[in-house]
Amino acid sequence: MLELIVISTLNGVLFGMLLFLLSSGLTVIFSMMGVLNFAHASFYMLGAFFGFQLTKWIGFWPALVVAPLLVGAIGMAVERYGLRNTHKHGHVAELLLTFGLAFAIEEIVSMIWGKSPLDYRVPALLDFPAFTIFSTNYPAYKIFMLAVSVIIFVALLIVLKRTRVGLIVQAALTHPHMVGHLGHNVGRVFMAVFGVGSALAALAGVIAGPALVTQSDMAASLGPILFVVIVFGGLGSLPGAFIASLVIGLVQTFAVALDGSLASAFGPLDPSAGPSVLTDVWNVTIAQVAPIVPYLLLVVILIVRPMGLMGTRES
């Protein structure tokens, strides 16, 4: 049992950190522009596919740097030539733009790379078990993923909270006009933030690609859970996104690991023993409902605390 708990904790934290890499950019962009960027998970997918292609051409390590930079540049272009032009037409137009972009990216990716999963391998340098606990190997690559995520988290926090750049970004989030009057180019700040957010998503894609599946529906399968993370954590709050990512990562992993159903909670008074049309419902295990747990959390948090865990405003 202890083994299961330790391994599940590691897996949960890892999945959580991956979610954080994605949600950190999304939550900052959200509070900056006031719209959900539906294409955010698509940048993650682009990162994975660029990572795969560049790994073939120039190797994994250069790809780890180049792919996020490329995707970051694409993100900046989207902000500069797409979102900035639609901004004057209101939030709905911006929302629709990102929505359409998500579909366009998915179609383009499947046109170029096909719809089947790609053979994106873990680099040979990291393809060994890092350590063995209770006879279970823990792959070095997963430790590497964890390390990258933690480094990014710390770096983001320092930049946003301890530097002048962070000060301006934070000010621009809440008082863009005032920042503009003080002589800063708010448009450029937004563009840079959008670029960095996209690059982070791409970085997550490059490192998650070999560990999970790299295929053209990966954005669609991860997108919804990202929205859960940022709403759960509180819009625009980095620490909130961090906590929410970890919570959701752990909840999903442990929900799979736990056996037990509603019926077994009653012990000897097991209601499913009696004849009932509800027998199926009683016997659904926690593992089976694992995929919907995050969405239940979303509903509960919206009812109980609409601004999210660490959010500061209601909308």
């Binding site: 823990y138 999970l212 593992a287 089976q288």
Partner: protein, 410 residues
């Protein structure tokens, strides 16, 4: 003059197209071509296109050219019905599908209703891989024909083999949460319980179909259970990712599977280094030892650049031709009647029969294991250098289970 040339240039190709469309025999291929099942669906499509080309070179079926119409159902029953209707509206009288028994059940029902409502415009459903037993038992239909061995036939053969393997003590079941996965788990529980009551079932897991991207939580659970063998009906990415996670965690167990040979599976097995510890049960495989089948495999690989994952598709198309020739018609009603109790020499050798009672094709089946190859086994999988190795061949009479089908005949 120029106008006339232009008119000819425009009209002639149209005439040609209209003529060939009328003559051709269209088969609607309804399977996933996007999403988690895409890799499997695309492989199937290439196989059917190869088979159609092969038959067309020899004049098609009764002079009709075969045309495969690909329709993407995204592994979704609802979407499949939309696609089936689309196919019927386009003049298709034969549909074929394989991936997903939930889809199979919906299609069988749809075709049955369609045929009772539109006499004279019947449609046949050729099922090449949806193996839920209910399709040839309580939900059986006259208009449905299945070429793959049903899940309970496979489990019967698999448990017969497992029964004699004394080292199996603790078994873990992990399956996809839909009709087929559930039938694998119930059959495994029932048959193992009857044949080897001493075997302990230490885990029984159902997970969402084609949605899980990281199986490491499940692998941690299998590891914790102390299982020495895992039985799984997982296919497509659900198998490849399961094995990938097992490789990462260093889980060393024997795997008894239905679909380990599917896309991505062999690569994942090679990564785990489980030489000879992953078993699959199929109606044929590359290194079966049958000369004709192996020649066929060679030609198929050279042209399609895939291994022949569906010997049953070969049987299906060849039997379709045989039945049409026997009936001397491509009218679905006559073909259906001709298929009943039709005996046929299958690709990998031996005789099979399309049982009249439930339209289940009964055929020899094979258990094979994946690992290093010997001299006489020329075919590896996915360039791993490893391939399938014969473990046991079960002849048709031993690969049967009875049916409860009470078929409503037209």
């Amino acid at each position: 003059m120029r106008k006339l040339t232009l008119a000819i240039a425009v009209i002639v190709p149209m005439l040609g197209h209209a003529a060939s469309a009328e003559d051709s025999l269209k088969i609607g291929y309804i399977d996933p071509l996007s999403g988690g099942g895409a890799s499997v669906g695309e492989g199937g499509l290439k196989t059917f296109q190869y088979l159609a080309d092969e038959l067309n070179v020899k004049g098609g079926i009764l002079g009709h050219k075969i045309e495969i119409v690909p329709l993407d159902n995204k592994t979704n029953p609802q979407e499949s019905l939309v696609q089936a209707q689309k196919a019927i509206d386009a003049g298709v009288h034969y549909i074929t599908q394989g991936n997903g028994s939930s889809v199979g059940a919906a299609l069988s029902d749809f075709v049955t209703k369609n045929n009772s409502r539109n006499p004279g415009k019947e449609v046949l459903y050729f099922n090449y891989a949806a193996v839920d037993p209910s399709l040839t038992n309580e939900k059986c239909s006259y208009w449905h024909f299945r070429w793959d061995a049903s899940s309970d036939i496979k489990m019967e053969a698999l448990t017969n083999y497992m029964k004699d393997t004394a080292s199996i003590k603790k078994v873990y079941l992990i399956n996809q949460d839909y009709s087929f996965g559930q039938s694998v788990r119930t059959d495994a529980r029932k048959m193992l319980g009857a044949k080897r009551p001493d075997i302990q079932i230490v885990g029984d897991e159902l997970h969402p179909l084609l949605k899980v991207t990281d199986f490491s939580p499940y692998i941690a659970k299998i590891k914790a259970s102390g299982a020495d063998s895992v039985v799984t009906g997982n296919w497509g990415q659900d198998f490849a990712l399961l094995l990938k996670a097992a490789a990462d965690a260093g889980l060393k167990v024997n795997w008894y599977t239905y679909y380990a040979g599917g896309a991505g599976g062999p690569t994942a097995i090679k990564q785990t280094g489980l030489d000879g510890q992953v078993f699959q049960i199929t109606e044929g495989f590359a290194n079966s030892g049958n000369k004709a089948a192996m020649d066929y495999e060679k030609a198929f690989r050279a042209k399609v650049n895939l291994s022949l994952w569906y010997p049953r598709a070969v049987n299906e198309m060849r039997m379709f031709k045989a039945a049409a020739e026997k009936a001397n018609s491509i009218d679905p009603v006559k073909v259906a009647a001709a298929l009943e109790d039709l005996k046929f020499d299958v690709l990998d050798g031996g005789q099979g029969i399309m049982r009249k009672d439930d339209h289940q094709f009964l055929q020899p089946i094979y258990i094979s294991s994946f690992g290093k190859l010997t001299e006489s086994e020329p075919f590896d999988e996915e360039s791993t250098g490893w391939g399938w190795h014969l473990v046991s061949r079960i002849d048709t009479p031993q690969a049967m289970v009875s049916t409860t089908c009470k078929m409503a005949r037209p």
